[in-house]
Amino acid sequence: MYPFDYPLDPAYILQKKRSLKRTLLQKDGLIEKKVAIMSGSTIGEIKNILELFLLENGIKPTFFEGSYGLFYENLVFDDGSLKAFAPDIIYIHTSVRNIKLWPEIGDDAQQIDAKLNAEFARFEQAIQAALSFGCQVICNNFDLPVYRVMGNREGVNSHGRVRFVRRLNEKMANFAENTLNFYLNDLAYLQAIYGMDQFSSQTAWYAYKYAVSIDCIPYLCQSVANIIKSLLGKNKKALALDLDNTLWGGIIGDDGVEGIVLGNETPTGMAYTEFQSYLKELSKLGILLNVCSKNEENIALTGFDRADSVLKRDDFLCFKANWEPKSQNIAAMAKEINILPDSFVFMDDNPAEREIVRQELPGVTIPELTAPEAYIAAIDRSGYFEVTTLSEDDKKRASMYKQNLERAQLEQTFGDYNDYLKSLAMKCEIGHFDMPHAERITQLINKTNQFNLTTRRYTAAEVESLIEHPDYITLFGRLTDKFGDNGLVTALIGHIQGDVLHIDLWIMSCRTFKRRLEHAMFDQLVACAAKAGIQKIVGHYYPTAKNLLVRDFYATIGFEQVAEDEQGNLTFEFTGFADYAPQCGVMEIEIV
């Protein structure tokens, strides 16, 4: 079994870390990131294990290790070494062991509040200092103290340490909710999942100054790595779900719609019903639900007509109930939705089906499923869909993909593709980067893989620094059509050198491929460049495992290829300003 899939095997990961690392380093397309770990307690093994979890997610970290216990000093009074390291991510590994000012019996309410505010201010200051490096910052909240002098009252009386920690955590949550680029790692929740006595061992603290027991370090690192991979756009996007014994108990083809186990009358039925509710909640976050089942479609559909089925046909994007191999069905869905098979999590109670998909589509993530009461945990504990930012677009994503499938159906009724495009009544808003759009632009930059000419990633701070920068031309595009709003789906960054414009980045979401939106963007880029006195536009294509699609893109819009190196990097030039004729012509353009 694969040690990083649910259920995690911490002992194996700790013991085999060297050989695991060797294997993981052989993965293709690793992206390099600089991660600084600041210490509130020992971080040695945390670094080693975090490295494994990041590699597992396609991220190759180089680390900066803060001095033992000096997270505050290292951040607030950086001696220049952290700045020189230029981190992409700072992880501040603090815990309840770092709280210095505790309330004491005899303190009045004001004194306790003053201590609370002073403690919070110290962490806030360290986090603000970390943010000033222009990177993403992750900090733990506080685990609960391992003893309670007053017993239960410790959580009630304002002198109690349990109460104090909970109040502090509330302040940290408020701070994180209102601070861009700052994310909380929920140490308190991890401690609750794995149990205080196991998670916060006194021996590990006294003997090695580890705030988290050694054998729980993999859980901690998984949690931190999930935040990081989510920030870098490496979340999963879709679920492919089996039906019989996965979404309900029993075999609908044999047992009939009334015979399947679902609903709150039986213990097993409750488990399936709550699992369906969990999936429904996920879909509200924009996770795409799809059916992948060996069944007759008309019979399979009746399962969702049951009054006690939380999920309905409408909650699914693709519905593949047939007798084709599941690997083929998943590959077909990926193609229809226009995402990569890597973006799928496949859930099936049948180990043989899991194994076939694992062999045929190695990019698909496949948790082990044992019994229905453990299905939720199989997704939830793995963090496949870790939310770091929740944009309006995320919430609408499922409906946007659904509109896309409707468009595809419409397309089939037109003989001429241009007629079809015109029938969509598309409207495109194009503008320069600005603050209201910066968050979505950063998200798009960091998760777009296919239509991405250079696969350069930008932090939020970097994107913000480009706004109204005189040496840059930036463009974003939003596309609406008669089926709905696709949202902000494309962005472009060019830097000006003399009379030459170099395109550093050009990306477009896969949901708007083949709509001539890229041509609309280029039309606008040519207009902006001409206005800025540009004589030549230079475009680059850097190949990755995922962007073959756009290898020849520049050549199709009027560029000439001028160079190719041994890595397959291509350079193109465009000089055709004088006789440029706009290339889009199928949508209404509004410059904002």
Partner: protein
Amino acid sequence: MDKQSIFEAVQEIFRDNFDDETLEITRETCAEDIEDWDSLEQINLLTAMEKKFNLKFKLDDVRGLENVGDLLDLIERLTA
């Protein structure tokens, strides 16, 4: 558990932890002899041994462990 089985299990842990299938330990093997055996790795070795032998070391148990012989003696004492 007899001395030989304890030795073999400990040898296996060392091989796993240091990712070296050919590693041969003796009672005299110490941190000086294995490049990656630092204080951090010492903790991992002890954690792996706790798991393997179903033990919980006390603070006093893990002090002054100088070489493999000390580790073997400790495990023998606690599993006796």
